[in-house]
Each structure stands twice: as structure tokens, then as C-alpha cells.
């Protein structure tokens, strides 16, 4: 309940309402980009700092769990979108890429949630966020390419090119980079930058979610096409993925808070790395399917209901 009434969630709701009312409220693109950079730097830096002050926990097994999650999720997402959703292979692959990858903002909202309720998690979580961004996208793109008939003309961009671009994409660079910086510069470094990267974090998130709400609100009308499947898919899959993630997290030895975060990562759908990759590598897919379900269905669901729900699920599983 408190979660539903947090400024973050309410601000997202306000954005959606404003967009539905056709308000002229609009964030400059460079503000959106700046807020994105801020959030990723802040997440990375704080995670690195936390790693530097606590005894290094076992990281290999959770890392493998994370990779496993992002390798298998796209498989059934693709299959379901093809069979049940009746999508062509391009759109199915795009959906698989989005739901297999992760959302840094959902992750941020989960951090804010745990912070408010004093739940703790392992410091290397931003590392899992970084590691889970890419594999699903590659696998999904690979799936389409495998299933193509021979004669078809194909997009200009080879798979290894795509992998290279993803690895040095801004998400990976900022998360991994600042995880390292936070770790190396330690407590002393954190003290120097925490007035920018820690204290105003939730405020910045509130602003970002206002903008996210505006965009989600505008996308809702795209749900007229295939809306029923997309809504069902965009709500049920995250719940299933969360359950799987939490359970795997427990097996991998994560704390209850950490496992909940892993569940949230599994449940979240990408809307930065995946759309960018799909525009290049799957131009035949239609953004009004993949962007709409990720941004206008799954994201609000996770934000308002998912995060508390998955924590409850974690308390049951643990």
C-alpha cells in the first residue's frame, strides 16, 4: 500500500493521466537521456561501494543463475508469441528479446522499495542487471535468423556486429564501469559523490517515472491491435518469471532481498537496450507491439503491483 502511494508510483500515474488528457507536458529528449545516465551511474556506483565495504559474497553461482534466466526466458517467450500470439517471427523475436532482457528503471524502483522498507540485498546486484541485459537479445535475434527461409533478403547487420555493439552499449559501460569505480574508490570515494548519486536518487527517479508515464500513456492506444494477447502476456509472463527468478536466487544462495531483486529482474522487460537493438537488427518488427507491451503493460504492472507482489512471493518461498 505504501508502495502504491509513493511519489515514484504516483508520478508515473500522473504521467499516464497527462498523456491520456493530451497534455503538452513533454520532457526534452536530452533531459530523458541525462536522467538515464544518472540512474545507471548511481546504481553502479552504489553497488560497487557496497561491495567494497562488505565481505565479498559468493558471486559466481548467482551470476550463472542470472545468465541461465536470460538464456531460457526468450525461448518460451518466442514460442508463445508465435503459437498463441500468432506473431510472425520478427515480432515474436522482438518480444522475446524484450522480456528476456531487463529494465534498469524497474530495478531502480525495486531499490527504492527495499530502501524504504529496510530490506537489504547483495551489492553485486547491479552486476546481475548488467549481465542480464544482453544474452536474451542475442538469442532472440539468433532465433529469427535460424528460422529464416533461404531465399529471403536479410538485414545488413551481422550478429557479431550486434554483439559487439551491445557489449559496449551505454547500459553495460555505465553499469559495469561504475560498479568497478565504486568498488575501487571505496568508502572514501562514495562519500565524495553520494550527495549527488545517493541522496537525490528517489527524487530523480520520480522525475524519470513522470516521463515514463507520459510515454506509456501515449502508447496505450496502440493496444487496440492484439491488445488482449499483449496484456495477458505482459502481466502473466512477469509473474512466472519472477517466481522462477526468486526460486533460482534461493538455490543460488542469495539472501531473501537479493532473490526478490533477481525475481524482479527476470520479471522486468527492457525498454532501452532491447528496442535499440531491435530497431537495427529486427527492423521488420513493429514497435507498437514490443514497445507497447514492455512500456505500457509490464512496466506499470511491475511498478505498482509486481514489486510488492514479488516480495511477498519471496517471503513465501524463503
Amino acid at each position: 500500500m505504501t508502495s502504491l502511494l509513493s511519489p515514484m508510483v504516483l508520478s508515473f500515474g500522473l504521467g499516464m493521466i497527462a498523456a491520456r488528457l493530451r497534455s503538452d507536458l513533454k520532457f526534452p529528449d536530452s533531459l530523458y537521456t541525462s536522467l538515464t545516465i544518472y540512474l545507471m551511474v548511481a546504481i553502479g556506483m552504489k553497488g560497487g561501494y557496497k561491495l567494497s565495504v562488505t565481505p565479498l559474497p559468493e558471486i559466481i553461482v548467482p551470476l550463472l543463475a542470472a545468465i541461465a534466466l536470460s538464456a531460457v526466458i526468450p525461448l518460451w517467450c518466442y514460442w508463445l508469441s508465435r503459437r498463441v500470439g500468432k506473431f510472425d517471427r520478427y515480432n515474436a523475436a522482438a518480444l522475446a528479446a524484450h522480456y528476456g532482457s531487463v529494465s534498469a528503471v524497474t530495478f531502480s524502483a525495486a531499490l527504492a522499495f527495499q530502501d524504504t522498507l529496510n530490506i537489504s540485498h547483495e551489492g553485486f546486484m547491479p552486476g546481475l542487471l548488467a549481465i542480464m541485459e544482453i544474452p536474451a537479445i542475442l538469442i532472440a535475434i539468433g532465433l529469427t535468423r535460424m528460422s529464416r527461409s533461404n531465399g529471403e533478403s536479410e538485414s545488413v547487420v551481422p550478429l557479431r556486429e550486434i554483439l559487439k555493439e551491445l557489449l559496449v552499449g551505454k547500459g553495460s559501460v555505465l553499469l559495469v564501469g561504475f560498479l568497478a569505480i565504486g568498488f575501487v574508490s571505496g568508502h572514501h570515494g562514495w562519500e565524495q559523490v553520494s550527495p549527488l548519486f545517493d541522496m537525490p536518487f528517489k527524487g530523480v527517479l520520480t522525475l524519470f517515472l513522470l516521463e515514463a508515464g507520459l510515454v506509456a500513456g501515449r502508447k496505450i492506444s496502440d493496444l487496440k491491435q492484439r491488445g488482449f494477447f499483449l496484456i495477458a502476456f505482459g502481466i502473466l509472463m512477469p509473474i512466472a518469471h519472477a517466481a522462477l527468478g526468486i526460486w533460482l536466487g534461493k538455490l543460488a544462495g542469495l539472501s531473501q532481498g537479493g532473490a526478490a531483486i533477481l525475481g524482479i529482474l527476470a520479471a522486468s522487460a527492457s525498454y532501452i537496450a532491447a528496442p535499440a537493438a531491435c530497431r537495427v537488427a529486427l527492423p521488420e518488427a513493429n514497435p507498437s507491439y514490443y514497445l507497447t507491451s514492455s512500456l505500457a503493460v509490464t512496466f506499470p504492472f511491475n511498478l505498482a503491483i509486481g514489486i510488492p507482489l514479488y516480495h511477498y512471493m519471496a517471503s513465501v518461498i524463503f
Partner: protein
């Protein structure tokens, strides 16, 4: 003032294709180009924010033969999959050596 006739080729495409297109037109003989960030709407819907991706407009002034090379390259490599449009207009320039 000595004016020469050249072609102005304008390409509008997704931001993410920018570097690829720039490399292509340079290879095909363009000596320079000018890029603007634009928004747009067309058959593939609205492209008007960082979320949905934005367009770039690449303009390059080239001799006729380079113009032909550029448009056939784009027609072959990009038209089949990507939402790209290209158009050509006639312009007159001073110092045509700058563009050859």
C-alpha cells in the same frame, strides 16, 4: 561567380543507421555531409522521442555519378528491411571542386 550544378541527396533514416550510412556515402565518393536530428511520421508510425527512436536527415552534395551510386546502394541494402527514404534535388554551388 562560377556556379556548377550538383545533386543534393537527402536520406532520412533511423538514428541507429547513422554511422552505417555515413560510412557508405563516404566510401561511395561523397566528400562531406551534413546531419540533422529530425522527427517524423510515415508508414512505420511516429518516430519522435528517444523512446521510440528518432530519425536523422543526412544531406550530401555530390556529382551525378556519386549520386547514382548512393541511391542504388541504399535501394539495395536498406529498402528491403529498413524505413529509409531518399530524395534528390538539383543545387548550384560555388567551388565545385570542394565536392568532387
Amino acid at each position: 561567380m562560377q556556379l556548377s550544378k550538383l545533386k543534393l541527396v537527402t536520406i532520412i533514416a533511423d538514428d541507429s543507421l547513422r554511422h552505417l550510412l555515413e560510412e557508405h556515402i563516404t566510401e561511395l565518393g561523397a566528400k562531406g555531409y551534413t546531419v540533422s536530428h529530425v522527427e517524423g511520421k510515415g508508414k512505420t508510425g511516429s518516430r519522435d522521442s528517444a523512446w521510440s527512436g528518432e530519425n536523422v536527415k543526412i544531406e550530401t552534395i555530390v556529382p551525378d555519378v556519386v549520386c547514382d551510386r548512393i541511391i542504388s546502394k541504399i535501394a539495395n541494402q536498406f529498402f528491403p528491411s529498413y524505413a529509409v527514404i531518399v530524395y534528390i534535388s538539383d543545387v548550384e554551388v560555388l567551388r565545385s571542386t570542394h565536392f568532387r
